[in-house]
Amino acid sequence: MSSFALFAASRAPLISMGRLDVLIIVIYFVVVLGIGFYLKKYVSTGDDFFMAGRKMTAWIAGLSFISANLSSLETMGWSAMAYQYGMLGAHAYWSGAIPAILFLAIVMMPFYYICRTHSVPGYLKLRYGTSTSSLAGISFAMLTILVSGASMFAMAKILHLLLGWNMNVSIWVASLTVALYVSLGGLVSAVFNEVLQYFLIWFGSLLIPILGLIDAGGWSGMVEKIQRNVPVIHPTVAAANFTSLWRNLGSFEANPMGIDWFGIIFGLGLAVGFGYWCTDFLQVQRVIVAKDLRSAQNGTIIGAVLKMLVPIIVTLPGLLGLAVLVHSDGSPMVLVSEADPRANITHHTYNDVLPLLMGKYLGPGLLGLGVTAMIAGFMSGMAGNASAFATVWTYDVYRTLIRRNASDEHYLWMGRWCSLVGILMSVGTAYALFYFSNILEFLLVLIFFFIVPLFGVVILGMLWKRATPTGAFVGFLTAIIVSMSMWFFVHTFPEGHRPHPSVSLDSGAVARVEKTGEGDAEVIQRLIVESGTVRTVNVPVEAGGVSRTSGETTLAETLALPSSVIENGRSAEVRLLAPDVVLADTNQPDKFGLEGVPVTLAPGVRLVASDVVQKFNPAEFNTAHTKYIARSEKAKPVAVNLYSAAWTLLICVTVIVGVSLFTEPKPESELHNLVIGLTPIPDAGPCPWYKDPRLWATLVLIALVALNWIFW
């Protein structure tokens, strides 16, 4: 019988800030609002509002391009990934982004730029016609709202957990600020704040890896500490190398991500990477508004260099979390996933790794700067989505389908109101997530699968003049349906899925704890519930001489619940969740999240037992089905999603090619400036060698190969 150590879990916020920190945050809000009001006078036409006047220079385009992606969900999320998966987390940057960004710069940018489109759906309209463009436009407009709302909800939740801030206040203050500055300054304002945010993120985050490496004794000291701590933190993959990029990718079971090299290269590198970086309009909008094609290409390449550096403030802190986050007795602090019963009760989660390091190393002022960077990241994510929504809705839905020939002033007015309405709809989404919080993860997966087919449609449109409007529409729709079908397939359980056996105590239950040890070494041996309501799921209960798993009763005599249950021939430890109980001995509130601890219920306790069998569970993967998608039963969720993306792209391209061969293509006269071979690249004038995009793209590629070699 085993039980987890009960670590002291404070009810206080994770980070405590002083007046100086609050002042730094207030200054940030004043500055972004001031910039919004200042820029309003420079925005007088639709082109100014939606396309920043097409005057952005390479550096601003590149910074904005990367900044639009470098949100706080990204910095916190990928630090968490690095803590969970080690160096494999850096693949999101070095395999999943850089090759795709370089491809965008050199191959795709000329088409986007020369056709003078305002958006990716705008390109699709020119290349294929209204049907494909409208499908992309409407889907994209909806997704921007949902993503913006998700970002808002995540920000409010994180600020509440970290700082104890009221979630309603966080949502409304942030959203009203964003609504104001985006509706005033449009894309210019969003871009200004993205560039500002980029600097704040680096100045607010770079100290953590610097101080962390000093603390760990340099890189070699960190690696040594990781090797020592991993068997305690990640016992199921104790033998894995957490500091290498490729060495562990020979098989699914040899690495903590449960993936192989094929999934990384074709799923992450090709399908997801190229889909996201080459066709997600939020990203592409930032560089197609550059002042000329060379600036657009060089801006994109600058973005690639900046992206290549991001692991310093994202992956490295995650690795440092494995090395330097320790308890007072020197034992490693174990962070757990959000799905773990101990999460946010007795243990911090993977997502807390960056805030924990901030709290450890950053004093007054620096902490405020770090939190400001986090808030700026969230707000610029919202602003990016709001400005993209305004553009796509006004140009690709409203002007295409509702009102074709209105004046420029009318579209500018529509854009300003769309920004406000978009933010208000995002607030609605954020509040919906209060009640359906696990929608967030499914939403992200759906976006994932929407963007990948879009890449198939766009790339064939650019590279193959025979691709037809019918082929594109059928291929796009088929790929979206197939990707969603795959998602349903891997979460479906025809034989029935029984959730893990668990016991939970309702709020206000009174319990007594028998424990051994003190402080960090404290271990709960038994929990005795004296009063209140206890709910069990899939735990056999012996009451009144009868064994059953469901029913409701008030106990007349003492009842002992098992600490483990046999499920499908295997022993499963019962999870105990007590998020808000009162300790009988001290009359103080407390909370636990444990596994495998015997629980005794006293007479008078109300017992609600349930026996649950599910045919569909979006949080669980059916390994009998995942092996058909990801080639192995050992594949973990990340691998299944990446393999699904690769299949989606393959199906999309196959259907477009197949249907196009039997349908009528557009005449060549309508494809000028849209397809390779029919798009003359305009002469941008004499170009010194050091401004040639191909030279810089080659150098970045060489640096990328070197990084992969170094961290092989």
Binding site: I24, K41, T57, I60, F192, F203, L207, G365, L366
Partner: protein
């Protein structure tokens, strides 16, 4: 758009970095004079990260403020725009 020259974004960035740098450096110096109790100190407190990081921010921000200050002249601005993309988005 009005003809009036738009203040470069780099000036705003420089400005906010200088303000933050001054606040962080100032607090670091205050703690040098009046150190907090040991239990209130962060890890590696003895490295005085706030002092040198605040100084780095001031130096970085000052460079941007001076280089891209408003009214530096349209010729200088145009030239900096060509070389660094600074004039306006």
């Amino acid at each position: 758009m009005p003809d009036e020259e738009q203040i470069p974004i780099w000036f705003f960035i420089g400005g906010i970095l200088v303000v933050y740098g001054v606040l962080i450096l100032g607090w670091g110096i205050y703690e040098l004079i009046s150190p907090p109790p040991p239990e209130a100190r962060v890890a590696l407190y003895e490295l005085r990260a706030d002092i040198w990081w605040g100084a780095v921010m001031i130096a970085f921000g000052s460079f941007y403020c001076l280089r891209f200050r408003p009214g530096r002249g349209s010729a200088a601005s145009a030239s900096s725009s060509e070389s660094t993309g600074a004039a306006q988005p």
